[in-house]
Symmetry: C2
Subunit: 144 residues, 2 copies
DNA sequence: CACTCAATGGACTTGACCATCCGCTGACGT
DNA sequence: ACGTCAGCGGATGGTCAAGTCCATTGAGTG
Protein backbone atom coordinates (compact mmCIF):
# COMPACT_ATOMS: atom_id res chain seq x y z
CA UNK A 1 0.00 0.00 0.00
CA UNK A 2 1.46 3.31 -0.86
CA UNK A 3 0.66 6.82 -1.77
CA UNK A 4 2.57 8.43 -4.56
CA UNK A 5 5.68 10.30 -3.59
CA UNK A 6 3.87 13.51 -4.41
CA UNK A 7 0.92 12.71 -2.17
CA UNK A 8 3.23 11.86 0.68
CA UNK A 9 5.15 15.08 0.16
CA UNK A 10 1.91 17.04 0.24
CA UNK A 11 0.87 15.55 3.56
CA UNK A 12 4.33 16.12 4.91
CA UNK A 13 4.41 19.75 3.90
CA UNK A 14 0.96 20.37 5.31
CA UNK A 15 1.97 18.62 8.50
CA UNK A 16 4.94 20.92 8.89
CA UNK A 17 2.80 23.98 8.28
CA UNK A 18 0.19 22.90 10.76
CA UNK A 19 2.81 22.50 13.43
CA UNK A 20 4.06 26.04 13.31
CA UNK A 21 3.06 27.94 16.41
CA UNK A 22 0.19 30.42 16.18
CA UNK A 23 -0.93 29.76 12.66
CA UNK A 24 2.36 31.01 11.32
CA UNK A 25 3.45 30.61 7.73
CA UNK A 26 6.70 29.50 6.14
CA UNK A 27 8.66 29.94 2.95
CA UNK A 28 8.94 27.15 0.44
CA UNK A 29 12.65 27.03 1.10
CA UNK A 30 12.15 26.50 4.82
CA UNK A 31 9.58 23.81 4.27
CA UNK A 32 11.89 22.11 1.82
CA UNK A 33 14.74 22.02 4.31
CA UNK A 34 12.56 20.99 7.21
CA UNK A 35 10.77 18.24 5.36
CA UNK A 36 13.47 16.92 3.07
CA UNK A 37 11.49 17.63 -0.08
CA UNK A 38 13.43 19.11 -3.00
CA UNK A 39 12.93 22.85 -3.02
CA UNK A 40 11.94 23.15 -6.67
CA UNK A 41 9.49 20.35 -6.27
CA UNK A 42 7.79 21.39 -3.07
CA UNK A 43 7.30 24.71 -4.72
CA UNK A 44 5.09 23.21 -7.42
CA UNK A 45 3.30 21.17 -4.82
CA UNK A 46 2.48 24.14 -2.64
CA UNK A 47 1.07 25.89 -5.66
CA UNK A 48 -1.42 23.10 -6.15
CA UNK A 49 -2.43 23.35 -2.53
CA UNK A 50 -2.98 27.06 -2.99
CA UNK A 51 -5.11 26.50 -6.08
CA UNK A 52 -7.13 23.95 -4.15
CA UNK A 53 -7.80 26.56 -1.52
CA UNK A 54 -5.95 24.82 1.29
CA UNK A 55 -3.13 27.32 1.47
CA UNK A 56 -2.68 31.01 0.91
CA UNK A 57 0.49 32.37 -0.56
CA UNK A 58 2.25 35.68 -0.43
CA UNK A 59 4.96 36.75 -2.83
CA UNK A 60 8.08 38.73 -2.18
CA UNK A 61 9.69 39.88 1.00
CA UNK A 62 8.17 38.19 4.03
CA UNK A 63 6.11 36.00 1.76
CA UNK A 64 5.42 32.33 2.04
CA UNK A 65 2.57 29.93 2.63
CA UNK A 66 -0.07 29.72 5.36
CA UNK A 67 -2.96 27.40 6.00
CA UNK A 68 -6.14 28.88 4.57
CA UNK A 69 -8.30 27.23 7.24
CA UNK A 70 -7.83 25.94 10.76
CA UNK A 71 -6.08 22.53 10.84
CA UNK A 72 -9.19 20.79 12.08
CA UNK A 73 -10.94 21.72 8.87
CA UNK A 74 -8.32 20.32 6.54
CA UNK A 75 -8.80 16.63 5.98
CA UNK A 76 -6.18 14.37 4.47
CA UNK A 77 -8.53 13.62 1.63
CA UNK A 78 -8.58 17.31 0.76
CA UNK A 79 -4.81 17.36 0.57
CA UNK A 80 -4.68 14.23 -1.54
CA UNK A 81 -7.26 15.51 -3.97
CA UNK A 82 -5.39 18.79 -4.23
CA UNK A 83 -2.38 17.02 -5.68
CA UNK A 84 -4.51 14.91 -8.00
CA UNK A 85 -4.06 11.75 -6.04
CA UNK A 86 -6.44 9.29 -7.68
CA UNK A 87 -9.22 8.18 -5.37
CA UNK A 88 -11.43 5.77 -7.24
CA UNK A 89 -13.80 4.09 -4.86
CA UNK A 90 -15.42 2.19 -7.71
CA UNK A 91 -12.30 0.78 -9.24
CA UNK A 92 -12.56 -2.98 -9.67
CA UNK A 93 -9.34 -4.88 -9.02
CA UNK A 94 -10.70 -7.84 -10.92
CA UNK A 95 -11.03 -5.81 -14.08
CA UNK A 96 -14.78 -5.71 -14.35
CA UNK A 97 -16.36 -2.59 -15.74
CA UNK A 98 -19.42 -3.04 -13.59
CA UNK A 99 -18.61 -4.10 -10.06
CA UNK A 100 -20.70 -3.35 -6.99
CA UNK A 101 -22.65 -5.05 -4.26
CA UNK A 102 -25.19 -6.28 -6.79
CA UNK A 103 -22.64 -7.54 -9.27
CA UNK A 104 -19.66 -8.28 -7.06
CA UNK A 105 -16.52 -9.64 -8.64
CA UNK A 106 -14.70 -12.37 -6.73
CA UNK A 107 -12.31 -9.84 -5.28
CA UNK A 108 -15.01 -7.35 -4.43
CA UNK A 109 -15.47 -8.27 -0.80
CA UNK A 110 -11.93 -8.22 0.39
CA UNK A 111 -10.96 -5.42 -1.94
CA UNK A 112 -13.64 -2.99 -0.82
CA UNK A 113 -12.70 -3.80 2.75
CA UNK A 114 -9.30 -2.31 2.07
CA UNK A 115 -10.57 0.58 -0.01
CA UNK A 116 -13.02 1.60 2.66
CA UNK A 117 -10.37 1.49 5.31
CA UNK A 118 -8.32 3.91 3.30
CA UNK A 119 -11.22 6.16 2.42
CA UNK A 120 -12.34 6.49 5.99
CA UNK A 121 -8.83 7.15 7.14
CA UNK A 122 -8.41 9.92 4.58
CA UNK A 123 -11.78 11.46 5.37
CA UNK A 124 -11.51 11.31 9.12
CA UNK A 125 -7.97 12.41 9.67
CA UNK A 126 -7.31 16.12 9.74
CA UNK A 127 -4.25 18.23 10.31
CA UNK A 128 -5.46 18.76 13.86
CA UNK A 129 -4.93 15.06 14.51
CA UNK A 130 -1.28 15.54 13.70
CA UNK A 131 -0.91 18.28 16.26
CA UNK A 132 -2.47 16.05 18.87
CA UNK A 133 -0.25 13.13 17.94
CA UNK A 134 -1.92 9.77 17.65
CA UNK A 135 -5.68 9.93 17.38
CA UNK A 136 -6.95 7.19 19.67
CA UNK A 137 -9.61 5.63 17.54
CA UNK A 138 -8.91 1.96 18.05
CA UNK A 139 -7.57 -0.55 15.55
CA UNK A 140 -8.26 -0.17 11.85
CA UNK A 141 -8.74 -3.85 11.33
CA UNK A 142 -10.67 -6.33 13.39
CA UNK A 143 -8.46 -8.34 15.70
CA UNK A 144 -9.62 -11.53 14.03
CA UNK B 1 -4.61 4.16 -1.99
CA UNK B 2 -3.49 1.96 -4.77
CA UNK B 3 -1.38 -0.95 -5.69
CA UNK B 4 0.75 -0.84 -8.78
CA UNK B 5 -0.84 -2.12 -11.95
CA UNK B 6 1.46 -5.11 -11.77
CA UNK B 7 0.45 -5.98 -8.23
CA UNK B 8 -3.20 -5.75 -9.13
CA UNK B 9 -2.62 -7.95 -12.16
CA UNK B 10 -0.91 -10.52 -10.01
CA UNK B 11 -3.80 -10.71 -7.58
CA UNK B 12 -6.20 -10.87 -10.46
CA UNK B 13 -4.39 -13.70 -12.16
CA UNK B 14 -4.11 -15.66 -8.94
CA UNK B 15 -7.78 -15.05 -8.27
CA UNK B 16 -8.68 -16.52 -11.62
CA UNK B 17 -6.49 -19.53 -11.05
CA UNK B 18 -7.91 -20.17 -7.62
CA UNK B 19 -11.41 -20.16 -9.02
CA UNK B 20 -10.86 -22.97 -11.47
CA UNK B 21 -12.71 -26.10 -10.39
CA UNK B 22 -10.73 -28.91 -8.85
CA UNK B 23 -7.35 -27.28 -8.63
CA UNK B 24 -7.14 -27.07 -12.38
CA UNK B 25 -4.51 -25.07 -14.22
CA UNK B 26 -4.69 -22.70 -17.15
CA UNK B 27 -2.54 -21.41 -19.94
CA UNK B 28 -1.19 -17.89 -19.88
CA UNK B 29 -3.26 -17.09 -22.93
CA UNK B 30 -6.48 -18.16 -21.24
CA UNK B 31 -5.69 -16.19 -18.14
CA UNK B 32 -4.89 -13.17 -20.25
CA UNK B 33 -8.22 -13.30 -22.02
CA UNK B 34 -10.19 -14.03 -18.89
CA UNK B 35 -8.59 -11.33 -16.81
CA UNK B 36 -7.98 -8.62 -19.36
CA UNK B 37 -4.25 -8.56 -18.78
CA UNK B 38 -2.05 -8.30 -21.87
CA UNK B 39 -0.84 -11.75 -22.80
CA UNK B 40 2.84 -10.88 -23.11
CA UNK B 41 2.71 -9.15 -19.77
CA UNK B 42 0.84 -11.72 -17.75
CA UNK B 43 3.36 -14.17 -19.01
CA UNK B 44 6.20 -12.35 -17.27
CA UNK B 45 4.10 -11.94 -14.21
CA UNK B 46 3.28 -15.62 -13.94
CA UNK B 47 6.96 -16.38 -14.24
CA UNK B 48 7.63 -14.32 -11.14
CA UNK B 49 4.93 -16.16 -9.29
CA UNK B 50 6.54 -19.44 -10.28
CA UNK B 51 9.95 -18.29 -9.10
CA UNK B 52 8.37 -17.26 -5.81
CA UNK B 53 7.01 -20.76 -5.43
CA UNK B 54 3.35 -19.82 -5.60
CA UNK B 55 2.73 -21.42 -8.98
CA UNK B 56 4.01 -24.38 -10.89
CA UNK B 57 4.40 -24.27 -14.62
CA UNK B 58 4.47 -26.85 -17.35
CA UNK B 59 5.83 -26.27 -20.82
CA UNK B 60 4.55 -27.50 -24.13
CA UNK B 61 1.43 -29.31 -25.07
CA UNK B 62 -1.11 -29.31 -22.27
CA UNK B 63 1.10 -27.02 -20.26
CA UNK B 64 0.15 -24.01 -18.20
CA UNK B 65 0.13 -22.78 -14.65
CA UNK B 66 -1.28 -24.27 -11.46
CA UNK B 67 -1.30 -23.17 -7.86
CA UNK B 68 1.60 -24.72 -6.02
CA UNK B 69 -0.32 -24.82 -2.74
CA UNK B 70 -3.94 -24.88 -1.65
CA UNK B 71 -5.59 -21.45 -1.93
CA UNK B 72 -5.92 -21.14 1.83
CA UNK B 73 -2.14 -21.19 2.10
CA UNK B 74 -1.50 -18.40 -0.36
CA UNK B 75 -1.78 -15.01 1.25
CA UNK B 76 -2.10 -11.78 -0.65
CA UNK B 77 1.13 -10.62 0.90
CA UNK B 78 2.89 -13.59 -0.69
CA UNK B 79 1.57 -12.61 -4.09
CA UNK B 80 2.54 -8.98 -3.63
CA UNK B 81 6.03 -9.84 -2.54
CA UNK B 82 6.38 -12.18 -5.49
CA UNK B 83 5.99 -9.30 -7.90
CA UNK B 84 8.31 -7.07 -5.90
CA UNK B 85 5.57 -4.89 -4.56
CA UNK B 86 7.30 -2.71 -1.98
CA UNK B 87 6.05 -3.33 1.56
CA UNK B 88 7.92 -1.12 3.94
CA UNK B 89 6.31 -1.22 7.36
CA UNK B 90 8.94 1.11 8.76
CA UNK B 91 8.71 3.79 6.17
CA UNK B 92 8.19 7.20 7.72
CA UNK B 93 5.84 9.48 5.82
CA UNK B 94 7.30 12.46 7.60
CA UNK B 95 10.73 11.75 6.22
CA UNK B 96 12.49 10.78 9.41
CA UNK B 97 15.14 8.11 9.21
CA UNK B 98 14.34 6.92 12.68
CA UNK B 99 10.63 6.74 13.39
CA UNK B 100 8.95 4.38 15.81
CA UNK B 101 6.89 4.36 18.97
CA UNK B 102 9.84 5.69 20.94
CA UNK B 103 10.68 8.43 18.47
CA UNK B 104 7.36 9.06 16.76
CA UNK B 105 7.15 11.69 14.07
CA UNK B 106 4.04 13.87 14.07
CA UNK B 107 2.46 11.71 11.40
CA UNK B 108 3.42 8.46 13.07
CA UNK B 109 0.17 7.77 14.83
CA UNK B 110 -2.26 8.23 12.03
CA UNK B 111 0.12 6.90 9.46
CA UNK B 112 0.81 3.61 11.16
CA UNK B 113 -2.90 3.22 11.61
CA UNK B 114 -3.23 3.08 7.85
CA UNK B 115 -0.14 0.99 7.30
CA UNK B 116 -1.26 -1.61 9.77
CA UNK B 117 -4.67 -1.81 8.18
CA UNK B 118 -3.02 -2.64 4.91
CA UNK B 119 -0.49 -5.03 6.35
CA UNK B 120 -3.09 -7.00 8.21
CA UNK B 121 -5.31 -7.11 5.19
CA UNK B 122 -2.49 -8.46 3.04
CA UNK B 123 -1.43 -10.99 5.64
CA UNK B 124 -4.86 -12.24 6.54
CA UNK B 125 -6.49 -12.48 3.17
CA UNK B 126 -5.84 -15.64 1.22
CA UNK B 127 -7.00 -16.97 -2.11
CA UNK B 128 -9.49 -19.08 -0.22
CA UNK B 129 -11.25 -15.92 0.87
CA UNK B 130 -11.86 -15.10 -2.76
CA UNK B 131 -13.54 -18.39 -3.37
CA UNK B 132 -15.81 -17.77 -0.41
CA UNK B 133 -16.58 -14.25 -1.53
CA UNK B 134 -16.52 -11.59 1.15
CA UNK B 135 -14.78 -12.65 4.33
CA UNK B 136 -17.04 -11.41 7.13
CA UNK B 137 -14.53 -9.93 9.49
CA UNK B 138 -16.18 -6.69 10.43
CA UNK B 139 -15.12 -3.16 9.51
CA UNK B 140 -11.49 -2.33 8.93
CA UNK B 141 -11.81 1.00 10.61
CA UNK B 142 -13.50 1.87 13.86
CA UNK B 143 -16.95 3.36 13.35
CA UNK B 144 -15.89 6.52 15.12
C1' DC C 1 13.19 54.30 -7.93
C1' DA C 2 16.36 50.58 -7.43
C1' DC C 3 17.18 46.32 -5.13
C1' DT C 4 16.15 42.05 -3.12
C1' DC C 5 13.22 38.43 -1.93
C1' DA C 6 10.12 34.72 -2.95
C1' DA C 7 6.34 32.75 -5.48
C1' DT C 8 4.96 31.56 -10.33
C1' DG C 9 5.16 29.28 -14.79
C1' DG C 10 7.21 26.93 -18.54
C1' DA C 11 10.46 23.84 -20.59
C1' DC C 12 13.27 20.15 -19.94
C1' DT C 13 15.56 15.59 -18.13
C1' DT C 14 15.37 11.31 -15.86
C1' DG C 15 13.90 6.88 -14.43
C1' DA C 16 10.59 3.44 -13.11
C1' DC C 17 6.78 0.95 -14.58
C1' DC C 18 4.02 -0.92 -18.23
C1' DA C 19 3.91 -3.22 -22.44
C1' DT C 20 5.38 -5.52 -26.85
C1' DC C 21 8.29 -8.44 -29.92
C1' DC C 22 10.90 -12.30 -31.08
C1' DG C 23 13.85 -16.13 -30.83
C1' DC C 24 14.79 -20.18 -27.73
C1' DT C 25 13.76 -24.28 -24.97
C1' DG C 26 11.28 -28.15 -23.29
C1' DA C 27 7.20 -31.33 -23.61
C1' DC C 28 3.76 -33.81 -25.90
C1' DG C 29 1.39 -36.10 -29.99
C1' DT C 30 1.73 -38.43 -34.46
C1' DA D 1 12.13 -38.08 -35.57
C1' DC D 2 9.25 -34.20 -36.64
C1' DG D 3 5.97 -30.63 -35.79
C1' DT D 4 3.31 -28.05 -32.73
C1' DC D 5 2.33 -26.05 -28.51
C1' DA D 6 3.36 -23.15 -24.66
C1' DG D 7 6.41 -21.36 -21.24
C1' DC D 8 11.12 -18.77 -20.95
C1' DG D 9 14.29 -14.94 -21.59
C1' DG D 10 16.33 -10.92 -23.54
C1' DA D 11 15.93 -6.69 -25.93
C1' DT D 12 13.25 -2.83 -27.01
C1' DG D 13 9.90 1.04 -26.90
C1' DG D 14 6.16 4.15 -24.63
C1' DT D 15 4.31 6.75 -20.88
C1' DC D 16 3.98 9.27 -16.84
C1' DA D 17 5.47 10.69 -12.26
C1' DA D 18 9.43 12.81 -10.23
C1' DG D 19 12.77 16.13 -10.22
C1' DT D 20 15.61 20.18 -12.22
C1' DC D 21 16.48 24.76 -14.38
C1' DC D 22 15.54 29.28 -15.49
C1' DA D 23 13.10 33.41 -16.68
C1' DT D 24 9.17 36.22 -14.97
C1' DT D 25 6.05 38.49 -11.82
C1' DG D 26 4.65 40.67 -7.68
C1' DA D 27 5.71 42.50 -3.04
C1' DG D 28 8.29 44.65 0.37
C1' DT D 29 12.65 47.72 1.83
C1' DG D 30 16.05 51.50 1.74
Amino acid sequence: MHLTQTAEYALRAMAHLSMLPGGQGARAKDLAEASGIPMAYVSKLLRKLVVAGLLESQKGHGGGFVLARPPAEIRFVDVLRAVDYPIEPNHCAFGWGECNVRHPCPLHGTWSQLKEAFTRWAERTTLADIQRGVPPRGPLLPTR
